[in-house]
């Protein structure tokens, strides 16, 4: 006897699925458009010293003044505000994008670990800066240290055959310990304020770190597009991927290094302690209601953008820390999706 297949309920929900896809497409197109504007700003700001670009940049900022005029705000005329918003929007895209693979690979805490490694990197960057002076944002040092940390985590995982709690906990606390030692030593050299990096603060987003985030984001998105199939396969069934002769260790290393890069880019706004939230919460929300892996990615990015938009609006208007605001909005979205998915389950079970 053939297996009975329950298709009831599917036909009458077809139109609601179509509507959902349409809403998602609108969300993605909006995300794309906003991201394009932000990247344009960063490029113009970067190259404003060149003759023609300088004029375009001025035009862009004049448009910002008009926006403030019509909206009654005091945001869009300021270059530093655009830098903060641009960094936020880029985080809202790349963190959930990488997070989708991490969460379903059950590596959610890797982001947290790498953020703590990056903290040691920031400390090293500050210390080096106070010794040598003028080497730019400490995020460069954080980037290098964090990538080494990522390769270290991967090395441990390959030797213990797992992304187990214990090596992760050792790595997390160990690098944070090193960071605190360097900070306390550095305080003697020069006044260093580290709280911004711990809890996230829009005021440390400068032109240089916004530029770094832009470059990192473009590279990460390009790599994910190029290796989407391989990343999906190792996420779904690592053993079958090995049998299909995919270089699983290489793709794992790639994923974890991209995580390190995204974490470093995001920590200025979100803070060391909260950065993992942006990798995990939008994905958890999307996974509650999505109908496939591709849709999970789309919804994760949309929820990520909503969290960033809501969180930044809250932070800027109420002078609150950006990291906490963004994560609280993300959690609110997550709770809404849980409510929505339990309603879905009820709708199915009443058929």
């Amino acid at each position: 006897m053939p297996e009975t297949i329950d298709t009831a309920g599917e036909t009458d929900t077809n139109s609601s699925i179509d509507r959902r896809l349409a809403v998602e497409m609108v969300g993605l197109v909006l995300t794309g458009a906003v991201t394009a504007v932000m990247l344009t700003f960063i490029a113009l700001n970067w190259l404003q010293a060149y003759p023609v670009v300088g004029e375009w940049y001025d035009q862009f900022m004049i448009a910002g003044q008009w926006m403030d005029y019509y909206l009654g705000t005091n945001v869009f005329q300021w270059s530093f505000m655009w830098q903060q918003m641009a960094t936020g929007v880029l985080i809202g895209t790349v963190a959930p994008l990488i997070g989708t693979f991490l969460v379903h690979r059950e590596m959610a805490l890797i982001g947290e670990t790498l953020a703590h490694t990056a903290f040691a990197g920031v400390a090293i960057g500050f210390a080096a800066g106070s010794l040598v002076g003028g080497i730019g944002t400490p995020l460069y040092a954080a980037l290098i240290v964090s990538i080494f940390g990522a390769i270290g985590v991967q090395w441990l995982a390959e030797r213990t055959n797992t992304y187990g709690d214990v090596p992760i906990a050792i790595m997390l606390t160990g690098s944070f310990a090193v960071g605190t030692l360097i900070i306390s030593w550095g305080r003697g050299q020069r006044g260093i304020s580290i709280e911004e990096y711990l809890f996230g603060d829009l005021s440390i987003v400068g032109a240089e770190s916004a530029r770094m985030m832009a470059v990192l984001s473009i590279v990460v998105v390009a790599i994910v597009l190029y290796t989407y199939k391989q990343l999906l396969f190792i996420t779904f069934d690592e053993q079958a991927a090995r049998v299909a002769r995919l270089n699983v260790n290489a793709y794992n290393t790639l994923l974890i290094v991209m995580t390190a890069v995204v974490v470093v880019g995001s920590m200025q706004v979100l803070g060391v302690i909260l950065v993992a939230g942006m990798l995990v919460i939008p994905v958890a929300a999307a996974s509650q209601i999505s109908r496939g892996f591709r849709e999970t990615i789309y919804l994760s990015i949309i929820f990520g953008q909503l969290s960033i938009a809501g969180g930044l609006a809250l932070a800027i208007s109420q002078s609150l820390p950006s990291g906490g605001s963004i994560i609280v909005v993300a959690i609110a979205i997550y709770l809404l999706t849980i409510a929505a998915s339990s309603r879905q389950v009820m709708a199915i079970s009443t058929h």
């Binding site: 391989q230 396969f233 079958a240 002769r245 892996f293």
Partner: protein, 246 residues
Amino acid sequence: MTPAVDIRDVSFAYGDAPVVKDVTLTVERGEFLGLIGPNGSGKTTLLHLMLGLLEPDSGSIDLFGEPVSSFEAGSRIGYVSQQSTNRGGSMPVTVRESVTMGRFAHAGHARLTDEDTTIVESALETVGITDLGDRLLNELSGGQRQRAYIARALASEADLLALDEPTVGVDAESRDSFYRLLDSLNDDGITIILIEHDIGVVTDRASRIACINTELFHHGDTESFVESDALAEAYGATGQVVHHDH
């Protein structure tokens, strides 16, 4: 023609504990091999050695005439692991997405073509789950999900299908139709290696049987296995024979 799998004097140990010892075994193309043995007898380890997931401590293994360590044609092998090792139960993946993964080894970094799509659709049809294509894997019953994994192996156009206890947790009726599906795939010329704890199923379906408990106790056609006392010898120590009446 070179055999599908050629294992010579293979041993493997985890630390000091030997799991597979001096096993020599050949799987001919088109064969349906049932791999049986008590719990902890090294069946899964032997299968992993054949597929190149583990490296033997000594001995050699050839896949389609090539040493397994340098075997690159990943699309020729379809592998259906025990349910617990993949994320079909938790990750939101549609049936069609999971079957499409069978084409990934062919496509590499290139975009999937219309031909890939056609092959995926026909794989779904062969295992009879076309109408479940847009459903999430984790919404399916155990039997339907195993069909999806078989479809993935078919989509990769594998010549060799390796299955590790594919019907654990699957109800009896779906299990029968699942094994009928394996039979018909085998009739089409696909080599099958099946690990199964239910010896009745294996003796009904497989053309040859390998019975192991660290060492190889029997390797030959099904009739000679049933007549031999390999089963009692292999299971002697643990005495866990599962019988299943058809």
